[in-house]
Symmetry: C2
Subunit: 476 residues, 2 copies
């Protein structure tokens, strides 16, 4: 390879990686020694970076020095043993290695022809996960539907909503837009993720036409209320089009009754999408599988994010469809410059028609390396272990007269509040987050403030949750 | 770290990388020794992968063996010196290293609070590129607008179309959907990218309401025709809402007259989005800067993909907005569980409100490492070199009586056809793609078949384009 100044040889790349691995190993190793939340002030990180880029090359050691000096203080340690905020977003070393191999392979998998390996490994990895999680055969490779990797569950729910919108309007929504979307209604529980509301705003259904279905005393969608709402909409000349059932809500991890919801959807012709973004990983464990996949065989689409609990390294969201044709019909565009013999032959999947984007990264590679290098059994053990850690905290809470659970523990997620009310709960939240070792977030349930404790970082140990419990009780 | 079977220590990770680096170096080094197109048959890659995942861990050497045996035959060598298909999708070693560091940092940058470093480095990297490319001050950091990283230009144009739709309807489109989107019209040239049509179908404007504006004899949008179309729509009670000007069309690299288009858009209140997905990188070179950024100061939004020519490794698309408020208004959702002091204080950017997704990867890191390690000057040299290579091919074509350019060369892109017609051009296409060393794709211009030759892979040398030219002429 000639000495063009914009090139770096494979050997240079190898040398750079070797030089950088020290930073990587140290960084990965010190997750428990740093503040979990960044203590940087707004603007502090940016103020240390020049306003213009260098014209000439800089040595890697300067970049690594600035990683430490400038970037690290602005990092939030999602990888810390005390990470209990939002949900885990784990970057397992095997997945990171897989993603590096994907970078080196340098594929762009928009079409089968643009990368047969990217396409076919993806199809097979979705089949691996389907079988490992016990998802129904309606989502199997080679059937009417199948699986695809999306970047996030937000994109997945949007893509499915559009497919449903088009199914309900015989594609008039895509062709005509405007009033063709009029009268369509979507449904999700009061506890559903914000991405559902965002998607209704994006796709022309309109946020006003998302019905938030009431939940029962454990924050699960009430299927009878859903049925009544759909009937009322039908009577008013509107068309129930799309419904999201959540398996593991963002707030408290509630699991909607998918089978009952599916029955209501079916009788009104609405598309049922299951959002198991966080909790889906628990289906890897035989102890939790039935809870997670219950009713899935009646759903039109089902999604979970391996980039959360499972460790696939952000971003990676898996979506299965019972019938992929409505999605392909809504997304397919065939400009001349993308035509090719394989597509025309009809024997291959062109995944560009399965999502919003055209181009696509070789994300299946990180699933492949993770699932082979770590094995399904170990990942199932991880789920069981994290659930056992949450049970440990649950026992401490149960033993304290001033603390209570605001909802039943769901897998490894706890919602805790002070019996004296929101001000006392806020004090607890502030105390926990003021300590460098822990990060927690909040939500409201029944209008009352709640501390969410979401166990699931790869590094969390029994000692960490014991320390957390002690600290929490001492802060009372 | 204890011996939980789902964990891998930092040291194990380092050892795995060291073991895998051999495959990486070899793979990067043999781009010129393999067939550029994969010769795999449909189903061939998948047939070699088991139907179910392993329960127990497998050694890395088995994975690397299968990389070679199963995956490699299904890879398309986007990194080959003979890659001239579609557009380049370069994975520069510095960007790959940066992306690995991003994986290790394990951030999820949905909010400033969820990663101050991810947020502020991104803002600054967009400012770096803005200054290096000579983009106008209306897109500067700290102004009414600013920059954000999207995954692809498809997502960028969709996000901007939604912002425009909402600006035109005072947010009624997001709130009410349906008929609130009625009467909105979008415009792009006949040569515009398929993502524009796809976006109109997604967002409720409707594909029927995208007007394809005629182009001149060099395939550039005709601003007078645009003006007439907008007037006609206004007269019919419709509302011109959004227009895409393309700087470097997918077919032949035509550069629409952005300034003239901007004037038409302004007089009708339409949002002007500039799609420079491929050609944008050329603005790094002072020779091409003015051509690329002409009229940008009059645009509402401007996008290019560093993952194409610039080498940022898929995926990474940069989007600048003159005013970010319409986009934020359309995308913002504030559930209680994402509320935090920094957001409430209003001093920070929460990038989740700047795109479709909620979660986001630390993509700025790969731009940072690439721009520092390689330097802007070398990247500008790369652009100039690739353009010079295209000129070399152009000279060979010009000297042959049976070959002609179907459009003027645009930067490093050539559109070549046989003077005897489509059958002869198809024969040439087939001959080139049958040779393991080359990959080209096609399009149609003026209804006639054209061979696209898109120079821009990092590895392409003068000798490669000489060999290609000789081969092409010999195949006549």
């Amino acid at each position: 390879m000639s000495a063009r100044p914009w090139r770096r040889s494979p050997e240079d790349f190898a040398a750079d990686i070797e030089q950088a691995i020290g930073w990587m190993v140290r960084h990965m190793g010190d997750a428990s020694e740093r503040s979990v939340w960044s203590r940087a002030q707004p603007g502090e990180v940016g103020s240390k970076i020049p306003k213009t880029p260098p014209s000439e090359p800089e040595p890697l050691k300067d970049v690594l020095r600035d990683m430490q000096k400038i970037i690290e203080p602005g990092l939030v340690r999602w990888d810390a043993p005390g990470w209990m905020a939002w949900f885990p977003s784990n970057a397992h070393p095997d997945a990171m290695l897989g993603d590096l191999l994907a970078s080196v392979a340098a594929q762009q998998g928009m079409l089968w022809t643009s990368s047969p390996a990217c396409t076919e490994l993806e199809t097979r990895m979705l089949e691996w996960l389907r079988t490992a999680m016990g998802l129904p055969v309606c989502f199997a490779e080679g059937g009417l539907g199948g699986g695809v990797i999306q970047d996030t569950a937000s994109s997945a729910v949007l893509a499915c909503m559009i497919a449903a919108r088009d199914r309900a309007t015989q594609s008039r929504a895509t062709r005509e837009g405007g009033s063709a979307c009029g009268g369509l209604v979507a449904y999700a529980s009061e506890q559903s993720h914000s991405s559902v509301l965002k998607a209704t705003g994006i796709c022309g259904i309109g946020r006003d036409n998302l019905r938030l279905v009431p939940t029962d005393d454990e924050f699960r969608m009430d299927a009878d209320s859903l049925s009544e709402m759909m009937k009322r909409d039908m009577a008013a000349g509107r068309q129930p089009c799309f419904c999201v059932a959540t398996v593991g809500t963002t707030g408290c991890g509630a699991i909607d009754p998918v089978a009952a919801i599916a029955e209501v959807c079916r009788s009104h012709g609405a598309w049922l999408h299951v959002d198991a973004a966080w909790a889906g990983t628990a289906a890897l464990s035989s102890r939790h599988r039935n809870t997670i996949v219950a009713g899935a065989s009646e759903a039109d689409s089902w999604t979970f994010n391996p980039h959360k609990w499972m460790g696939a390294s952000f971003d990676c969201s898996c979506l299965w469809l019972a019938d992929s044709r409505p999605l392909i019909d809504a997304m397919s565009i065939e400009p001349e410059y993308l035509r090719n013999a394989a597509t025309d032959g009809g024997d291959v999947i062109d995944y560009r028609d399965w999502h919003i984007q055209l181009g696509r990264r070789f994300r299946a590679m990180k699933l492949w390396v993770l699932l082979r290098r770590t094995g399904v059994s170990a990942l199932a053990n991880m789920v069981d272990f994290h659930v056992s850690l949450a049970k440990t905290i649950e026992q401490h809470i149960g033993a304290h007269p001033k603390l209570e659970l605001a909802a039943p523990r769901s897998l490894s997620l706890l919602c805790i509040r002070h019996v004296d009310g929101d001000a006392a709960t806020q004090q607890l939240l502030d105390a926990v987050n003021a300590d460098d070792r822990f990060a927690v977030t909040h939500c409201t349930l029944d209008g009352r403030l709640v501390m969410r404790v979401a166990i699931g970082a790869l590094s969390t140990e029994l000692a960490d949750v014991e320390t957390f419990s002690e600290y929490l009780l001492a802060a009372m």
